[in-house]
Amino acid sequence: MDLTVGVGDGRLMAGSPPNNDSTRRADHRQTADLTNGTIRRTPRRWGWLLTALVPAIFIGYFFVYPVARILTLGLSELSFGSSGLEARLIRVGWFTVWQATASTVLTLLFAAPMTWAVSRFEFRGRRLATALVTVPFVLPTVVVGTAFVALGWRDSIWAILAAHVFFNTAIIVRTVGTLWARLDPDILGAARVLGAGPWETFRRVTLPLLKPAIAAATSIVFLFTFTSFGVVLIIGGFEYATLEVEIYRQAVSFFDLPLAAALALVQLVGVTAALYGYSRYQDRHTSSWALSSDSSRVKPRGGARAGVVLAVGGTLSLLAIPIGVLVARSLGTDSYRALFQDDAVVGVPIESAANSFRFAAVAMVIAVVIGVMSAAVIAGRSGRLSRWFDLTLMLPLGTSAVTIGFGFIVALGWPVDLRASFVLVPIAHALIAVPFVVRITVPTLKAIPPDLHEAAAVLGTSRGRVWWRIDFPIVAKAALVGSAFAFVISLGEFGATSFVARPATITMPVMIFRLLSRPGQQSLGMAMALAVALAAITAAVVMWIDRLQVGEVGSF
């Protein structure tokens, strides 16, 4: 199964591959239900609704309600107006949009040669190269920020843009590359035979056929850079702020919650627009008969050979620089030892790792329980209700992490005051991870052929037994991958955590940020050492997921 998943601003993104096989199967399943008559439908419907209730309450209370509170707060602020609101909105909003646009364009340009090389050609190390290009993408944003600080590149717009390109290249390479590799070679050959040279073939045939993948990948990169938080907060200094960063500053540093809410409102509008663009293109897939079942990669010959070496070597070397410098500089001083020593201000830095692991474990359990229940609901029926449910569950994915954390602070004083509780941290992480668990599990559930159930039913097996023997083993693997994803999402999450973490329950990313905010080489060294540790743990878990072969990291 080529399910497609990747990591964003401390979050991961998942999507189904560009064919609607699974939906077709789901339709098939419903027809199968109908032929079985209405007797079986009624009890199933109640079970379905009950299963839907738990995730619905979870999403309702921890996501819909807080966002609604932000909306009301923000709307009243916008209608009353406050001093400097308009000027600030225009300044920050404009910066957010143009840096996101510039980052997206630069990422497309930077990723193009590598995408061409790995999708058109078969060469030794191609798989490794694709895996390596994904490494920056799965790194927590705080680690990426620290890496650019380690380069000595701070308070510069170019550093922000470079960090965004570094971070998002994998999205283009893997999303566009997956489609490009499968384009029917005969269609490209037909253009050549009809008299089009290589460049003309690319322009008149390849590019139009790749358009859906390019559009989808572009809107995701835009979304990620539009909501960029950790990177901009760390390397942007005081001069540069995206909406996301400004929401954080207004809420956390100046306690101006209404102004922060107004900014969050604007942010939500931007995000919704980007997601709308994405979903529109998701529906318009390249005709399946323009694709060949297996890849059409060829051995590079002559000039193409030099091009491949240059594209792959150049891209990977450039991407390696920030990581290499981060690791090298972290080794230079006594930074790693200092992580274990009690610091007057931040405590023992390495203790944040223990917190992170605890939170990640709790977040993982919540995300898997809610996620698998939701997946069962979505896969169980294919009506309009089910589609709405699916869409609602995906919303936290599109909403920025900062908005989620901010919403908790604004809303969760009722009915019990949860705002001071440490449980908000794993709940926020779980909220962000649920869409991934769902996206990984739903296609697996839908892929179970309905005849398998029917065959078992005909043999007289009870429904519970059928579920246990057929569905469970299949779901278990998806759930395992889902939990691993939830775990790394939680480990690297920074946006929401920065709002809800208490001094006693600080996580690794928050600790890194604190160390970076302090002046002095010693603090910087400790931040770099902790960032390397976090990166290593994340990379280990992601590599383990990749080996399970259920999800493919990085494409959409």
Partner: protein, 228 residues
Amino acid sequence: MLELRNVAVELGGKPILNGVSLSLGRGEIVAILGPSGSGKSTLLRAIAGLVPLEGGEILWDGVDIATVDVHQRGFGLMFQGYALFPHLDVAGNVGFGLAKEDREASVPASLSRVGLGGFEERRIEELSGGEKQRVALARTLAPDPKLVMLDEPLGALDRSLRDRLVSETRQLLEEREVTAIVVTHDRDEAAAMSDRLAIMREGSIVQIGILEEILAAPADDWVRDFVT
């Protein structure tokens, strides 16, 4: 005209064509007949320049065309699955190989020649199998190629449609006095569409001639079993 001398091709390290020699006169139609996997499609691709030669040479009017790029050979190739461009409509497909200024006049003419007048704005997905075949044929013939190669032109169609299209296609080729190679695995189709047959087996041409000759004096037992 076209002359192949000991053409050899390898794909993924495996030999696909081992020394194919064949020559075609102007306006001649040769059918290449062989079981699947015998290298027929690869031979067409090699002539078109889509796969590199491992050995031998391909000559056009006595000149080796090894260094001529695919898009400059001026040959036409109709692919087995038609390979129509899904992002273009029928007119976009047929006019693809034409200069911009020629499209407006030539496309409707090409389409009516294959019996698809008025199909210009149809989307490829809406076409039936037979219509796709005609669009692909019109697209291949539109730029007036020096050599036309058809790879299983009727392969995916049902029997009755095939019988009708066999004669239509042959007529189209003859009208234009075009030199053509037709690849097929069907003996009757091969005989009906061509002047001469070349029997291909495991990457080599084992016998060339008209069907009656081959039937009367097959080169070996395999050829006899294959054609009868």
